[in-house]
Amino acid sequence: MNNRILMLCGVLLVTACGGNQKGTETAAPAVEESAPLVVYSSRAEQLIAPIFAAFTEDTGIEVQYVTDDPQPLIERLKAEGENTPASVLLTVDAGNLWFAADQGVLAGLDSQTLKAVVPSFLRDSQDRWFGLSLRARTIVYDTRVVNPSQLSDYASLADEQWQGKLCLRTSKKVYNQSLVAMLIETLGAAPTETIVEGWINNLATDVFPNDTKLIEAVADGRCAVGIVNTYYLGRLQKQGELPVGLYFPTEADGGVHVNVSGAGVVKNAANPEAAQLLLEWLVGDRGQALFANENLEFPVRSDVTPHPIVDAWGPYSASTVPLENAGIRQAEAVKLMDRAGYR
């Protein structure tokens, strides 16, 4: 009995070591021979794999990627320093992109293509990152009880008429942190704090862990209004009709808060030319169509047609305040929400 267990341990150890050697042996030469472009991505695999496949098809450059949350990836880039295998950091939310640039892991990129296509408010002021697709965070409402004429901007959701009717996602999600950061940038800290306190007063129920649950609650009639990223509604609309409407704040009201998913070239990139090529390809026709439509987001290029579901929502005007403020003011926004009791 015991001998059997010992033997089993022995066999496992031998296979373990064998496996390791094999792993490193095959990994090392592969990196040197064909030198694939390495991307660190916080965008999930199923959203990037088809895009990289298309890029490889067009350019012949192979792409390897590691997925993780943005902050661990940034710490990893910092720790790896000059030895990093990565050339591109791809992530969502301007706050994360700003932080990566602030921590010095991204290099400035002088690309006429990118500058021509990506509006300046959707990229870093020193061109260290570029927005590639837009994610509008806007107002959803229950079409059975709310008339769109009752709605205007984010601040108005703090009005008394929404007492016990507003639903929000947790403040721990970076999308809400960016939204509040941008409110601070446009309206100032004190008025924003009053608005957030008003939102909390108006809550219909405890904050939701994600946008999907929030939209389901609107469809169930538990909330009249809420704030979500549009693509979550798009995903649910793919499965069937919902009594949920989208409202875009107008230009006069400050426009829609947009965020980006974007990318930058890593400072010590092993392969900076291929990295730049990938970013430029992503704002090209094929890249844009794939990158935005895979996740029902808005393409950063206005001349590319979005997915039919997205197209059906109609046009909107985005707030044009530079997005890097979402990062600069993020910590301030988190503290403000903590003070206002927004969990």
């Binding site: 267990i5 010992l6 496992l12 590691v66 790896e80 320093g81």
Partner: protein
């Protein structure tokens, strides 16, 4: 002299395992730019209360459920007893956050069940985030107590119980006065694992949006961009854990637990009448809610998504998961035996503290531990390379640590050594000093004694360690994410890809695959137990 060497080895293991904590201590001096004072004023009061409630709730409930279930299945005979003895361990194969999202899929307001009940005029009671987190964590963590308590009851409780009964003590009293006190090292080991896992949990509380110390650590890092403050808070958490462990050890310092030798032949006490069915209902109910319901929900989702999600790539996820879990389990079991043996050969304060330190990683939130490890090893790697250059080896001597499987194994060990060491360490505690004396007389020393005397006695403990670590690594996420080399995507990484985009239903496919893989080691363990019982018969 030899004792000195063993001590050195234990200290060396502790140093490597403590690397992330060293990074955290180094962060103490750093300034966290006002973040800390903000946290103390607005965040800490609430999360401290929440965390305490959660930990106490989960610990007490797990202790109750685990001990009662273990007691019933090891001492009594009732319908389904043999079956429950192993299937009550199955919830261990479910990651906490998977149980959480599956159960909330069943019971939440917008679920089909709740909708149907509302149609009939019944509304499900609203459950607070705290209660929901407590229940879900209990349902996934009680198996630690169950497993270790059963080991205790099977190996010792029954014989002592027979003595107690022959002296006229009633069954229930026998449990309180004899079996439970004897089982204390196991129960404590089980509950310690539950507590540490609860303190480190992020996935489950995130599903319910319940604010705890861990969520505060993450929001300091992800929201306030201060890894420094996050590390500082993690260190506070560790101080709490160390204090709790120290108190417990002080409380049982003067006690000794030694085994009575051979295993008992098997005869369980029959239960009579209504009690039989009460026992069946208790075990059955626990199994249904902790395993069947969440897995059932996963299966329902999986049917909808299998076409979209299943692909040949699952074989590579599966291979990565199983190989990593196997390597890590063997590595951790090996380290546990070395630590346990070292502690026995070189007893004393230094060895004791070193052993304690090496098992602390379990209470650190996974991502913090993972990043701490990554930062520390990158430092070691740069340092070694620089030394190589300074010595004139130039670029020929470039140490590559990060991005290899070795780093993954070390980080897994730092996280799960507590899990592996619990059963092995309790096993060592139960080996009588008289056995050492006998071995000494027979001239068995060092590795020889380890192999010929200890290992046979430790087999059940080692098997438990292998099983627990295997299942834990299958479920592990943050360390796998940050340290995996290219092409080593596991099943849990696949779950991450889905849940990070809110596609919980689609994540049911990798989740179910993890559960199925987790069943295999549980069954092996069960078979091995019944075989060894057969042998003594």
């Amino acid at each position: 002299m030899q004792a000195r060497l063993w001590q050195l080895m234990v200290v060396a293991i502790a140093l490597v395992m403590a690397l992330p904590m060293i990074v955290a201590v180094a962060a103490l001096g750093a300034d966290s730019a006002g973040v800390w004072s903000h946290i103390v004023e607005y965040v800490l009061p609430r999360v401290t209360v929440n965390t305490l409630l959660l930990v106490v709730g989960v610990a007490v409930l797990s202790l109750l459920l685990g001990t009662i279930a273990a007691w019933l299945t090891s001492v009594f005979d009732f319908p389904g007893q043999r079956w429950f003895a192993w299937c009550l361990m199955l919830p261990l194969a479910l990651p906490g956050y998977v149980t959480a999202f599956a159960l909330s899929g069943v019971f939440e307001y917008s679920s089909p069940l709740a909708g149907a009940l509302r149609f009939w005029g019944i509304s499900l009671p609203g459950v607070s985030a705290g209660l929901a987190s407590t229940l879900c964590l209990t349902l996934t963590l009680y198996p630690y107590v169950f497993l270790l308590a059963r080991q205790a009851f099977l190996s010792q409780g029954r014989r002592s119980l027979e003595v107690a009964q022959s002296l006229g003590m009633r069954q229930a009293r026998g449990m309180w006065r004899v079996a439970l006190p004897f089982a204390r090292p196991w129960l404590v080991a089980g509950v310690s694992l539950v507590i540490m896992e609860t303190l480190a949990d992020f996935g489950t509380v995130k599903v319910f949006n319940f604010d705890t110390f861990t969520t505060a650590i993450y929001s300091a890092w992800f929201g306030l961009f201060s890894l420094t403050a996050a590390l500082q808070m993690s260190l506070c958490l560790l101080v709490l854990v160390v204090a709790a462990l120290w108190l417990e050890r002080r409380a049982r310092r003067l006690r000794r637990y030694t085994g009575v030798g051979q295993k008992d032949p098997q005869h369980r006490l029959p239960l009579t009448g209504g009690r039989r069915w009460l026992a069946t209902c208790f075990c059955g109910g626990l199994f249904v809610i902790a395993f069947l319901v969440p897995v059932g929900q996963l299966v329902v989702w999986a049917i909808d998504y299998v076409q979209l999600e299943w692909s040949a790539r699952y074989w590579s996820y599966l291979r990565a998961s199983v190989s990593l879990a196997t390597f890590a389990a063997v590595f951790v079991a090996l380290l546990s035996v070395l630590l346990g043996f070292g502690r026995r050969r070189a007893p004393g304060r230094t060895t004791d503290s070193a052993v304690q330190v090496s098992t602390l990683g379990y209470a650190l939130p996974g991502t913090v531990l993972a990043v701490g490890f990554f930062v520390a090893l990158s430092g070691v790697q740069d340092g070694l390379t620089a030394i190589g250059r300074a010595l004139g080896a130039g670029d020929a001597f470039v140490v590559t640590l990060t991005g290899t499987l070795w780093v993954m194994l070390l980080a897994y060990a730092a996280r799960f050594l507590a899990v592996g060491f619990s059963p092995v360490g309790s096993g060592f505690e139960r080996i009588s000093p008289r056995i050492d004396d006998t071995a000494e007389i027979l001239g068995l020393r060092g590795v020889k004694r380890l192999r010929q005397v200890y290992l046979p006695l430790l087999t059940p403990g080692i098997a438990t360690a292998l099983l627990l670590v295997f299942v834990d690594v299958m479920k592990e996420l943050p360390i796998t994410l940050i340290t995996r080399p290219f092409g080593w995507d596991t099943l849990s990484v696949r779950i991450f890809q889905m849940t990070t985009e809110g596609e919980w239903q689609r994540a049911s496919i990798p989740a179910l695959t993890i559960v199925l893989c987790g069943l295999i080691p549980v069954m092996i363990l069960q078979r091995q137990k019944s075989n060894s019982r057969g042998a003594t018969n």
